[in-house]
Each structure stands twice: as C-alpha cells, then as structure tokens.
C-alpha cells in the first residue's frame, strides 16, 4: 500500500501572545511545530503501516526550515520525506497550494491513501485537503475519527455535529482526520530521531513537479489578503466574590437582569 501524508510546519499558535500595548502579534520565541492535526494524520497512516505493511511518504510545501518538521515525522516512523520548495510558491492561497501538492503527489506515482490533518492551526481554512483531492480527481472523506481498510475498501467514522456517519469508500481516497482517541500520535523513538537526523530530505522545485506556473504562488491565488489586523481584545468584566455563595449568585443574577441577559 502506498500512503502519502501532507504536513505543514506551523508556528505554535497557542503560544502566540498579543502585545498588550501595541495590540500586535508577538512572534518571537514561538516554536515551529508540525501542525498538530497533521500528526494525527501521520499516526493514522502509521497504524495502517503497522497493520498492513504500507510505505508512508510525508510531503510538505514550505520554506527550507520545514525540513525540521519533516524530520519529526520521519522520527515517528514515516519512510520517506519530501520537501516541495520554490520561491515561485510564495504567497500561495489554498487553491495554489493544493495545485502544488497535487502535482507533487502525481509525481510520486500511484497512491492509495492520502492523509491530511483537518486544518492548519495558522491558516485555519481546512481547504487544502479537499482541493487537492479534486485536482487529483479522487474521492474524499473529511472529519474522520476512525478508519480501517479491508482489501481496497475503506470504512471510516466521519464526525458530524451530533454524532457520526459510517461511510465506505473504495481506494484511492483522500482522508482528512480530526484529533480523536484513535489517532493519538505516537511518541518518536530514539532510533527514529537519530536516523531522521541523518537523513537528507529530498527537495523538489516547481520544475521538478511540472507545476503549471500560472497556477502556483501568488499568481495562482484567486484570493488575496487585503488587510490583517488584531481583533479587539475582550476586556475583563465584573468578577463577583461576595462573602457567601448565595450573595454572589444573587449579585450576578441582578446584574444579568439589569443588562437583560437571560432574565
């Protein structure tokens, strides 16, 4: 079985802070990590590898420093890593990114399952997975919490707002996973880390993947960022700490009634 996992190196946005004076993002000291949902995706792939003996390739479109993220994935047990990197990819929105990933996957050859994480925690769009599947003309299932394969039939549990669907689909398929108990990412091993450290990561350029230059990077992006701003901060409201709980509750409900909230 041939499996590809698309990953992205992202800043740890839960560590990002806002400067209280200037109300701008403080980027310094924020570590770069493998997008957490992509780790769930890799875990899903590695479980299939453990069970059925598959070859797992991790691929990422990014700048040279993304190699560190790919090495993290190798240390968890992925077999091969490829960085797709080119100045021409700069400024890409999700459509342009998915074009590059699709071209890269086509170059890899026959692939049975493509795993993606639900969304990247910096862009937060959740679009690249489905768009890549469309370019490749293959089926997709999103919000997957659990899956298994028998012969070439995939069965997944797909999360909905109030439960889950059980869906069957034939290979090839793109699977976008959520953080679920089934896909808790494994801790890397010492041997894995040491081997990954020594591995030379292959780098593919736009020419290597035969990317259509009109469909990549800023040129290939139908959406453009017009403005970036920090949202107004929520300010701390009223904290009630009366001598007794009864009094605190009464005070709170009085205030709510005043502001016509709930009451």
């Amino acid at each position: 079985m041939e499996i590809v996992v698309c990953i992205k190196q992202v800043p740890d946005t839960t560590e990002v802070k806002i400067d209280p004076v200037t109300n701008t993002l403080i980027r310094q000291g924020v570590p770069s990590i493998v997008n957490p949902f992509d780790k769930n995706a890799l875990e899903a792939a590695l479980q299939l590898k453990d069970k059925y003996g598959a070859k797992v390739t991790v691929i990422s479109m990014g700048p040279p420093q993304a190699k560190a993220a790919l090495k993290d994935c190798l240390s968890m047990g992925a077999d091969t890593a490829i960085l797709v990197s080119d100045r021409a990819f700069g400024g890409a929105d999700t459509l342009a990114t998915s074009n590059v990933l699709a071209a890269s996957i086509k170059k890899i050859g026959k692939v049975d399952v493509i795993f993606c994480g639900k969304q990247a925690i910096d862009g937060d769009t959740a679009q690249v997975g489905p768009e890549t599947a469309e370019h490749l003309g293959i089926a997709q299932v999103t919000y997957v919490a659990n899956m298994d394969i028998k012969d070439d039939l995939v069965t997944v549990e797909r999360e909905c707002e109030d439960g889950y669907e059980v869906i069957e689909v034939k290979l090839p398929v793109l699977v976008s996973v959520i953080k679920s108990a089934a896909f808790e990412p494994r801790f890397p091993t010492v041997k894995g880390k040491m081997k990954a450290n020594r591995t030379e990561i292959a780098v593919w350029s736009a020419a290597d993947v035969n990317a259509d230059e009109k469909k990549i990077g800023l040129v290939g992006s139908p959406t453009k960022v017009s403005k970036i701003f920090t949202p107004p901060r929520r300010v701390q409201g009223i904290i009630i700490e009366e001598p007794t709980v009864k009094e605190s509750i009464a005070a709170l409900l009085d205030k709510l009634a005043e502001a016509k909230i709930i009451l």
Binding site: I121, A126, P130, A133, D162, Y164, P231, K246
Partner: protein, 398 residues
C-alpha cells in the same frame, strides 16, 4: 517576491519585523529584509512609518469575464427534513448584500422531496430557489453535491456563493471552489461590500484567532465563502414573500457517488447541538467526576441551553468528542457561554471567545477564563451550580 523594501527609504526601525505575523522579516545591516516565509499579506506595508515597503500588484491571468456573473447564492443545508439555522442566517445576510448590490438572492436546495422548504427560503428573503431533487441527493455526499452545485454555477453564473461552515459545508465548499477554479474564504465572521468595486470583503480569524484577515477574490468568480453558524442573526421570516422556483434536473448517477453512507449514529440529543444553541453551559475538569455533569445539565435545562465540555472533560471520557469546545473540538459563537470549572486555557478560548457574553464560574480567581469573561463568580462550582440553577428557576418563573 512581490513585497519589496526600498533600501533608500528604510530607516531600520524594525516595526515591520514585529508586525509580521509570519516572522518573515529580519533586520540585516540596518535594513529590513523579507525572507522566504513571506505570504504577501501586506501587514508590513501598513505599519511602515516611512512608506518604504510596497506590495507589487501581481497580474493574475483570468479566464472569467466578471461582468457575466451576478446574484448571491446561499447553499441551503438540511438536516432531518429541516433547514439548518446557519442557512437561514446566511439568507438574512445574503439579502442585505443583494440589496446593496442591486442583485437577486437565491437559495440552492438539493435533496429528496425537499420542495416544501422553498416557502421558508422565500420567507427568509430569497428571490429564487434553485431546486434539484433526486433520490441520489437524499443524503449529503461530496461527489453528488459538488457535481450538481458546480453545474449550476457554470450554467447560471452567480457572483457570490455563501455556504455555512458546518462539517458538510467545509467539505463541499473547497471541492466546488477547486472544480470551478475560484477563490474560497473559510470560516468567515464578517462580510462586507467594497463600495468601489462591488467586491465582497471576507473577514476571518487566523492564527488560532489571534489575528483577523480581510480577504478579497478580485478576479475570479463566483466569490465563495463559508460562514460560521451564529455569526449572523436569523432573519425575521415573512411568509408573504414569494419567489421563483427554478427546477433543475439532477445528472448525478449512483455510480458517480464514490462514498457510501452505511449508517448514522447519533451520539447525543439536541442538548449537545452546540452550533445552533443560543446559550451553552460548559463543564470542565473542575467538576471532579463525570456524575457531576448532571449539575451542568440541570442548569442547561432551566436555561434551555446546550451542554458543552472542555477538552479535559472529553479526554477523561466524561463527554463525547462532539461536545468538545475548543481548538481540537468545535468553535461556537452563542449569545451566552457559561464556563463552569473551566480554567480557560488558550486552546479552549479559541473555541468560544466569539460568544457575545461569557459568564465564568471557577474557584480559582486567577484562572485565565476570568480575563475574558464578562461576568464571573469565584466559587466552588459544585456549590454554585445547584444554587444558581434554583435561582434562575425562581426568577424565570416570575
């Protein structure tokens, strides 16, 4: 690189370095240098005090004639024979956009025997309903719905398409955008019209909600966006309104649909429908044990609220994942969010900070949740919850 620093003008003040959300700018030999991770977002352009940074306009080759595209479409998502709230909300907002642009608003309704919903769609403000009914469309499927919707777009050329950012909406939106080759902006929290160009300005959170970005789709059509539930208000329904139903035949065959729906397992009742809830009461690790969620449920019942949970409670197995609010769970924006025994870790705040009003109950007065709460009680939730439930009951009765 399309963002350029003029070396002559640059004074090396470093303001751009701090402003860049992607850490792409460094100062080298006293001048700002833009590196590989630049995404051309333009944040630096705005803050440079000496206007030393410019963003080059890049000409995108376009094959679409924008003038041919008109009207606002809303994807009508249904569940158990009813319209989802978010579709109503989008019709309400869509109506405003249509009025501003002097264009029509249409609902796109796919399914099996769903025609009866048309009157609700008109009542919410639509001028037209594109109705595609077929057995194959009874349940949502990526292949079925993408094909039908894309064909409709090719045939009727809407200028704007709005889709609710539900699980299905976020499955469908990008697939359509990719098939058509147009721009899609995800998870929007605000929409506007640029007066000059008549383009839609889509505003959405990024970086886990730490920054907001306004996105445009200048040359490609339709301009597409997924919008979060509870961002816009449901419109007042006017059943005197009527409109035109445009029936379109479905071309989708069963063999075109590659995913087969085998079963649907409902994990909880309406109490955990967080997306449509106006009030959510959430419990966290502070509850101590799973049985104590009863206290949350009692309060929720009195308030007519849905029940949510923090990641800690879900990880401990007290509630299913569909109840989880936060970065790896659901993002909600109810009118009122009551956080009980939840410390307010960043990952949780990401999921609920766009609530209108936040009320927090926690025994630790230094808990971060109090920094974003509009109202807070410092106290033991096991004590507070039963008493506050009683008090609400009493006051609501009179």
């Amino acid at each position: 690189m399309a963002v350029i620093v003029s070396k002559e003008k640059c004074v090396g003040c470093g303001i751009c370095e701090t402003a860049c959300p992607f850490g792409a700018i460094t100062l080298q030999e006293g001048k700002a240098v833009i590196g590989e991770t630049c995404t051309q977002c333009g944040a630096c352009v705005e803050v440079c005090p000496v206007a030393a940074i410019t963003r080059e306009e890049v000409v995108t080759e376009v094959t679409m004639d924008k003038s041919q595209y008109k009207n606002i479409w809303v994807f009508i998502e249904t569940a158990e024979g009813k319209m989802k709230n978010v579709s109503l909300e989008l019709l309400g907002e869509g109506r405003k956009l249509a009025d501003q642009l002097g264009q029509k608003l249409a609902g796109v309704l796919l399914g099996k025997e769903v025609a009866a919903l048309s009157k609700d769609i008109f009542a919410a403000g639509a001028d037209e309903v594109y109705l595609v009914e077929a057995d194959e469309l009874e349940h949502y499927s990526t292949d079925g719905y993408t094909t039908v919707f894309s064909d409709l777009i090719q045939a009727h050329k809407p200028s704007v398409v709005l889709v609710g950012a539900t699980n299905n909406g976020r499955d469908l939106g990008p697939r359509i955008a990719s098939r058509i080759g147009t721009g899609l902006t995800a998870d929007c929290t605000d929409l506007g019209i640029d007066e000059e160009t008549g383009m839609v300005a889509w505003t959405r959170p990024a970086f886990g909600g730490n920054i907001m970005a306004t996105i445009l789709c200048p040359e490609h059509r339709p301009q597409m966006g997924t919008i979060r539930p509870s961002v816009f208000k449901k419109p007042i329904l006017d059943y005197n309104r009527c409109g035109e139903i445009i029936k379109v035949k479905s071309t989708v065959k069963w063999e075109d649909i590659r995913t087969k729906l085998i079963d649907f397992v409902k994990v909880c009742t309406t109490a955990c429908n967080l997306e449509e809830a106006e009030i959510i009461v959430s419990g966290g690790r502070g509850l101590g044990k799973p049985e104590n969620f009863k206290l949350i449920e009692n309060l929720a019942e009195v308030l007519g609220a849905s029940v949510g949970a923090s990641r800690a409670a879900v990880d401990a197995g007290w509630k299913p994942h569909v109840s989880q609010v936060g970065q790896t769970g659901k993002t909600v924006g109810p009118k009122i969010y009551i956080a009980c025994g939840i410390s307010g870790a960043v990952q949780h705040l990401v999921g609920m900070s766009s609530s209108d009003v936040i009320i927090a109950i926690n025994k630790d007065k230094d808990a971060p949740i109090f920094q974003v709460a509009d109202y807070g009680i410092v106290g033991d939730i096991l004590e507070v919850l039963p008493m506050i439930t009683e008090e609400f009951k009493k006051r609501k009765a009179c």
